[in-house]
């Protein structure tokens, strides 16, 4: 296990997350892709902390903040999805046109 293998893994995870967020029609699938991207960033932070700054914990601290903020983001996002679904009765993003005048 080297730093470059960790970076390759997190890069691949980030690309899969981007692909999911760009191509899913279902808004819940888009949120899942965003979660995958957050996790790739966390893996990067933990890997840099372990390999380049072995005595410190600042990278892990930042990753903890990212975990907390991702939890808040997904809670608000899913509540918004529930509210939109109650009004528009769909979960597909191309049918979300409530704001179109």
């Amino acid at each position: 296990m080297t730093l470059s293998s960790c970076l390759l893994l997190s890069g691949a995870l980030f690309l899969i997350g981007i692909f999911g967020a760009l191509t899913r029609r279902n808004v819940i699938g888009i949120l899942m892709g965003i979660e995958l991207m957050f996790n790739a960033a966390n893996l990067n932070l933990a890997a840099f902390n372990h390999f380049l700054h072995p005595g410190g914990v600042a990278g892990q601290c930042l990753a903890l903040f990212i975990i907390a903020i991702a939890a808040a983001e997904v809670v608000v996002g899913l509540a918004l999805v529930l509210a939109i679904n109650r009004n528009a009765d769909t979960v597909y993003v191309e049918e979300f046109n409530l704001l179109k005048g």
Partner: protein, 164 residues
């Protein structure tokens, strides 16, 4: 040797289940594979000697976020969704975006080719707690404020209106 074997099997688990998350037609399966991918990533955190991050990943992501996704999918899902296309028509453009991003990431990551770890893994929870209560106390309190705001926002948006 055993360490790299564990790392590569966990990496394969994470990547294959992430691919299943973005390609599965059934959203319930996507949410279950999301939990599997996040759990595999927690194992990689443990191997990177980030023990508190491992526990937080299991508690928050696998135990909280993945379960929340499964709840919302089951609340909103319909049987007719299983016969609909779940990938939009712009997937070649998305592949192009991914290729460009891969080239950029490769250029950025090429300068970190192979530094190995120089120190044996040690528990980090105590130092993390001291850092959170010392130098990072203000961001820590701001995160608690943010979590309260998110809680109130979720309750506000998801309640049922009595008289519309």
């Amino acid at each position: 040797m055993a360490e790299s074997l564990i790392f590569y099997s966990l990496a394969a688990l994470v990547l294959l289940s992430a691919l299943a998350v973005v390609t599965m037609r059934n959203t319930v399966h996507s949410a279950l594979f999301l939990g599997l991918s996040l759990a595999g990533l927690a194992g990689i955190f443990a191997e990177l000697s980030a023990d508190f991050l491992f526990a937080a990943q299991i508690l928050v992501y696998v135990g909280g976020i993945a379960v929340l996704f499964i709840f919302v999918v089951m609340l909103l899902g319909r049987a007719s969704d299983l016969h609909l296309r779940q990938i939009n028509a712009q997937w070649p453009a998305a592949l192009l975006v991914c290729a460009v991003a891969a080239a950029g990431l490769w250029r950025a990551a090429r300068s970190f080719i192979a530094p190995a770890a120089t120190r044996a893994p040690a528990p980090t929870t105590e130092r993390l707690g001291r850092l959170l209560m010392g130098g990072y106390a203000v961001p820590f309190e701001l995160v608690s404020l943010l979590l309260t705001a998110a809680l109130l926002g979720a309750v506000f948006f998801s309640r049922l209106e009595k008289n519309p």
